[in-house]
């Protein structure tokens, strides 16, 4: 595996591990989602250069548009959680407990 391919492969793995082993804040989990999106944007942009196919250069722009929607929705849920519980701590989201 070339070192640059290893770089974005391990960046994606780090972000998904950071999302899985989140600690206190909801916004840290949202930041890990954003870094997953970033670490997917870079290889999607490199792919048309490596294969010299210009038409694939559309895909990272489209991914950026949809991930903006996802980031906005995540931040809206953060604001709603801060309004309800006073903070965005994840141990407050416990509707299932008696």
């Amino acid at each position: 595996m070339s070192p640059l391919h290893f770089s974005f492969y391990s960046a994606f793995t780090f972000s998904s591990l950071g999302l899985a082993f989140h600690r206190t804040h909801l916004i840290s989990a949202l930041l890990c989602l954003e870094s997953m999106m970033l670490s997917m944007f870079i290889p999607l942009s490199i792919w048309p250069v490596e294969n010299q196919t210009p038409s694939f250069a559309l895909v990272p722009i489209l991914m950026l548009a949809f991930s903006t929607c996802e980031a906005g929705t995540g931040l809206a849920m953060l604001v709603a959680s801060a309004r309800t519980h006073g903070s965005d701590h994840l141990h407050n989201l416990n509707l299932l407990q008696c």
Binding site: L58, C69, T73, A76, H85
Partner: protein, 173 residues
């Protein structure tokens, strides 16, 4: 030049590790900014400057600005940065997991470098990334309309999620 681009790749990985080790959100945003700057520099070194600029404008200038002022909702009285043993422990644990994956997966042939740049097929009248994104407006106009509709829908979704006092989507009472 090769070593400079490999350095950019390593700094990209370290920036993402800085976000993934879950420090206090003030410091996580710094890691994300560093990672996106390194990623944009890497894309520029390959010659695709258009998608690099699109990343800068939309990601850093749009999404991260909104994240930075939303971090003010997540205030910590004692913010934990990378000097705290908990954050460093998470970072080292993630590095260990990826290292084990590399060793056990047999990905040890590490030093194959050399990647084609955007002028690999010769210089043309319109650059590779410019002509690729221009497809968005000609053959891919259906996708363009779907993406615009999705963005407009996201605005209304956000409006409904943060609506007023007693009719919001997330309420404990």
């Amino acid at each position: 030049m090769t070593y400079f681009v490999i350095f950019l790749g390593i700094c990209f990985m370290l920036g993402v590790l800085a976000v993934a080790s879950n420090p206090s959100p003030y410091y996580g945003v710094v890691g994300l900014v560093v990672a996106s700057v390194m990623g944009c520099g890497w894309l520029v070194s390959l010659g695709v400057s258009f998608v690099s600029l699109a990343l800068f404008l939309v990601y850093l200038g749009g999404m991260l600005v909104v994240f930075v002022y939303s971090v003010s909702l997540a205030a910590d009285p004692y913010p934990e940065a990378w000097g705290d043993w908990r954050v460093v422990g998470y970072g080292l644990g993630f590095v260990l997991v990826v290292w084990m994956g590399v060793v056990l997966g047999g990905l040890v042939d590490f030093w194959k470098v050399g990647v084609v740049t955007v002028d690999g097929g010769g210089v043309s009248f319109a650059r590779l990334d410019f002509s690729g994104v221009a497809v968005f407006y000609s053959c891919g106009v259906g996708l363009f309309l779907v993406a615009g509709w999705g963005l407009l829908l996201a605005l209304f979704v956000v409006l409904e999620l943060v609506r007023g006092l007693s009719r919001g989507a997330i309420r404990a009472v």
